[in-house]
């Protein structure tokens, strides 16, 4: 019996990877620009794609924002069209990877909660008084508390407030007992 060979997914769809060999990032002004050479192809509408291109401002977006902070990074142009994906920013030279890391860290803002002083539930809203990692006090209001707490893992949670700000608790088990008691009900 002859074995039938199936077509692998990768034969049909190819992800455009942005690597140190085909791309160079530069910091122009306060943001990153990109010069990239991609394999030539023809787009759906017949327009030519690929070749050397220059983007004066690119946007980075994490594919797995809770799991892989510096891997699988999508690089987008101003119209949010994906130029390609960076497998791992550490594959670039140290200077570039640092630049990418800074850009990513700047885009994703979620201060870390170290201590919970109080959580007061009142009429469907909860009022949080917390201490951030840097010692600053953070007060925020959460609507529909249960649904606003995202559990990445049972211990790693993100809280989203009324204004869509995010707050992170990296490990609920590492909170002091008093703090833990205050959020236990929501976990």
């Amino acid at each position: 019996m002859t074995e039938l060979k199936t077509t692998a997914l990768s034969d049909v769809v190819s992800i455009t990877y942005i690597t140190k060999d085909n791309a160079s990032f530069r910091r122009d002004g306060d943001f990153l620009s990109l010069r990239v050479t991609l394999p030539e192809s023809v787009g759906f509408d017949g327009e030519p794609l690929g070749g050397e291109k220059y983007y004066e401002r690119i946007y980075l977006h994490r594919s797995f924002p809770y799991e892989h902070l510096y891997e699988y990074i999508s690089v987008l142009d101003r119209d949010s069209v994906e130029i390609g994906i960076i497998s791992d920013i550490n594959d670039f030279d140290p200077e570039t990877s640092e630049m990418l890391r800074r850009e990513l860290d700047r885009k994703y803002f979620a201060p870390v909660i170290k201590k919970i002083l109080s959580v007061k539930e009142r009429y469907g809203y909860s009022y949080w008084e917390t201490i951030a990692e840097d010692g600053n006090r953070m007060s925020f209001t959460v609507r529909d508390t249960f649904r606003s707490i995202l559990k990445v893992t049972p211990e790693h949670v993100f809280i989203t407030d009324n204004d869509s700000n995010r707050y992170e608790i990296r490990n609920t088990d590492e909170l002091d007992r008093k703090s833990y008691k205050k959020i236990e009900l929501y976990l």
């Binding site: 122009d28 002004g29 306060d30 943001f31 759906f44 509408d45 017949g46 327009e47 004066e56 401002r57 946007y59 924002p65 119209d79 800074r102 860290d105 700047r106 885009k107 994703y108 803002f109 979620a110 201060p111 870390v112 009142r122 009429y123 469907g124 809203y125 009022y127 951030a132 990692e133 840097d134 600053n136 209001t141 609507r143 529909d144 009324n162 204004d163 869509s164 700000n165 995010r166 236990e184 009900l185």
Partner: protein, 740 residues
């Protein structure tokens, strides 16, 4: 506005070279350019320069004339304001999400100012939304601070709603009072029975006398009377309360429902269907229960407690002290017990709902589960969840089993003190057996109200939460509202877009600068890639959303000046996914025109090509469809929707991928029906399959949120632009599939 003036003054103080009149706008930001660091800074745009200050230190100064463009961009959990000078992107500031709407509006106005030299501060009303009392920002889409809203205010409003029923409620409270008094009587009558008759001195000798017998039977009859009275009061009170509570719930429900219906699609879609259902049903129910059971109950229990306390104290204060000593302990223990119970039972509830979610998921997706042979994996997932639930339940129930008797014991403790005290008093002839009976009854009564009252705050809070949530919806601003002087008008069908911009969230414009004219009777095809804003365009014509900038007119009248009912009654819509309500096929077609005659419905169905398949079903037009009804295929549903639109006889017809999910033959039939339908009316049609738009009088090609091309099929093909590309690509595809 306050912020802007304050920052303007701050700028002029730090930098005396700037004159206040030159400041166009100034806005604060709260994040350092990098890192999780909060800061206090502001950006000021003057006629000549742009300044960025952080902690009053100048960080950046740019010449306004050098700026080509301002950009607002969303981070995750933060936002950015940027500008472009000579092709270089500069960061003006980074801020938390609280400032998102403000900054995006300002950036929008700054760009507009460069084009038209005008700047409007109208956004400040929407974005300057802090509670003057506590400084907290209002929740999105609300102008009420939930933190500072006095409970009194809400109770007053509930009382307003209760106005038609307040006599019922007052009557029931009164009945509760009476019943409280009546409940205390049997104990006293029992004491009389024992002391004056059963245990009275010389009772045996006097037992044959008429006085004694009459008195004896009198007391027993009184006991019977009290019992009957209690039941009667219970019946009257029950009926009164059901009347008041239910009627009030119904009016509250219709208030909430009416409000939800008036909210725009964008506001409604921010909440889940489940959440809205909760508001309409659960929260109003909670309030009904509170009115029916708790308000009167509160007075009743309070009165019983006070009356019993007063009676005991008046009788013998030492006895009162003995009985009342455990009271604080009991209250405290009861509260602690409930708090803990709440915790463990809540955990059980969470585990239970998790297991249910898994079950719901598996059953809804059973075909997928079976197709991928993942039954075992799902089984394990469910097992794990039920195991957790089981553990939580054991923990909760065993705790309850252990501590609930302890609580009862604590509550009964007073009785032992009482027995000892009264027992010694009886032995020394200071008290009678009747007294003992009276007090044991009162002691057993007094803990009832205590237990009830100590749980009352929790019920009260829960009800207040429901009330606040209800008013949260009732108070929500209606963003797509009819103007006071909105007119009803007969539509001819000329649609014009004047420089229309729109985005679902701030900072993300889906459409910008759209200018269009559609003549009455035109069949206009709207073409473009997915996500380019085609559906948004027609949503704006239907006024499901209001434009952010510019205007849409119909026959020269701004659609915001036309009453929504008048506008929508003359627009017919056929969407890709047709929703059929639970009901019959007939009901669903007649939905657009409830007063249609049977003949009209039949004619519409016939024209839509629905009649033949309807007649193949045993129950024909009376076939039940929708959630629990007959399942119709996509094409059949679509034809019902078209019949619905035909019956509606609209001036403007909107077809959003109306035939996309159908096979070619059905599509051809429906296209023919649509051809007839669109005659003499303005039709806007979206279609991916470009062949369906061949007969369009005009095609509009959208690209990147703007109108890229306008013309007939032939014109656009000659032009060789985006439309040409799309047609060619589709031809190639159909060739390929034909070859395959």
């Amino acid at each position: 506005m306050k912020d802007r003036i304050m920052l303007r003054n701050r700028l002029c103080t730090i930098n005396p070279g700037v004159s206040p009149e030159d400041v166009i706008v100034a806005f604060p930001f709260d994040l350092a350019p990098e890192g999780d660091v909060k800061t206090d800074g502001f950006v000021a745009v003057t006629t000549s320069d742009v300044y960025v200050y952080e902690k009053d230190v100048l960080m950046l100064r740019l010449k306004s004339a050098d700026i080509d463009e301002y950009i607002f961009s969303n981070g995750v959990g933060c936002v950015f304001a940027e500008c472009v000078t000579n092709g270089v992107h500069r960061l003006l500031c980074r801020a938390t999400m609280a400032q998102r709407d403000l900054i995006s509006s300002i950036i929008w106005q700054l760009n507009r100012r460069m084009e038209r030299s005008t700047y409007s501060y109208a956004y400040e009303e929407e974005t300057d939304v802090k509670c003057p009392n506590c400084g907290r920002r209002y929740p999105p889409d609300s102008h009420v601070c939930p933190h500072c809203t006095a409970k009194k205010g809400y109770i007053k409003r509930v009382w307003e709603i209760a106005k038609p029923y307040r006599y019922f409620i007052l009557a029931s409270v009164l009945l509760y009072f009476i019943s409280a008094g009546v409940q205390l009587l049997p104990a006293y009558l029992n004491k009389l029975l024992i002391d004056n008759y059963i245990q009275a001195e010389g009772a045996f000798e006097r037992s044959a006398s008429a006085d004694f017998i009459i008195g004896f039977i009198g007391v027993i009859l009184s006991l019977l009377g009290v019992n009957i009275l209690t039941r009667l009061i219970g019946i009257v009170r029950g009926v009164t309360l059901i009347e008041a509570g239910t009627r009030m719930m119904v009016s509250l429900r219709s208030m909430v429902f009416d409000k939800i219906q008036r909210l725009s699609v964008s506001k409604i879609s921010k909440r889940t269907a489940g959440e809205l259902m909760n508001r309409v049903t659960d929260d109003t129910n909670q309030l009904q229960n509170f009115i029916m059971n708790d308000i009167g109950g509160f007075f009743e229990q309070m009165l019983i407690f006070l009356a019993v306390s007063v009676i005991i104290i008046a009788y013998d204060w030492r006895l009162a002290v003995l009985i009342l000593i455990p009271v604080p302990i009991v209250i405290f223990a009861n509260r602690a017990f409930h708090k803990f119970m709440h915790r463990v039972f809540h955990r059980q509830w969470v585990m239970n709902s998790r297991a249910n979610t898994i079950l719901h998921d598996i059953f809804s997706g059973i075909r997928v589960v079976k197709a991928y042979g993942s039954e075992r994996r799902e089984m394990e997932r469910y097992d794990e969840a039920t195991k957790n639930e089981c553990e939580a339940q054991i923990r909760a129930e065993s705790f309850f089993a252990k501590f609930s008797p302890l609580m009862s014991f604590l509550m009964g403790l007073g009785e032992f003190f009482l027995l000892y005290y009264v027992g010694t008093k009886i032995l020394s002839h200071e008290m009678t057996l009747g007294d003992m009976q009276l007090f044991t009854t009162y002691v057993s009564i007094i803990y009832g109200p205590l237990r009830w009252l100590s749980n009352f705050p929790r019920r009260y809070e829960r009800t207040m939460t429901s009330i606040v949530k209800i008013f949260d919806i009732i108070d929500e601003d209606v963003d797509v509202a009819d103007k006071k002087d909105a007119v009803d008008m007969k539509i001819e069908g000329k649609i014009e877009f004047h420089d229309v911009s729109f985005g679902y969230d701030s900072g993300n414009n889906v459409l910008h600068g759209i200018n269009l004219t559609v003549e009455p009777g035109d069949f206009v095809g709207i073409v473009g890639r997915s996500g380019v804003g085609k559906s948004t365009l027609i949503n704006l014509v239907m006024r499901l959303y209001d434009v952010d900038d510019g205007s849409i007119t119909i026959d020269g009248v701004d659609i915001r000046d036309i009453s929504q009912s008048s506008l929508r009654s003359q627009i017919g819509v056929v969407l890709q996914e047709t929703f059929l309500f639970s009901g019959t096929v007939y009901d669903n077609i007649a939905y657009a025109k409830p007063d249609a005659t049977r003949d009209e419905v039949l004619a519409a169905a016939k024209l839509a090509g629905a009649h033949s398949f309807i007649m193949k079903m045993p129950d024909a037009y009376n076939t039940r469809v929708g959630e629990r009804g007959h399942t119709l295929s996509g094409g059949e549903r679509q034809r019902i929707a078209i019949a619905r639109a035909l019956l509606h006889d609209p001036r403007i017809l909107i077809l959003d991928e109306a035939t996309a999910s159908l096979d070619t033959e059905t599509e051809k039939q429906i296209q023919d029906a649509l051809q007839i339908l669109s005659k003499n009316r303005t039709t806007l049609a979206i279609a991916h399959r470009l062949s369906t738009l061949r007969n369009a009088t005009k095609l509009i090609v959208l690209d990147k949120g703007t109108v890229a091309e306008v013309g007939t099929h032939d014109e656009l093909m000659r032009r060789g632009g985006i439309y040409y590309g799309l047609v060619m690509a589709q031809r190639q595809m159909s060739k390929m599939s034909a070859g395959a």
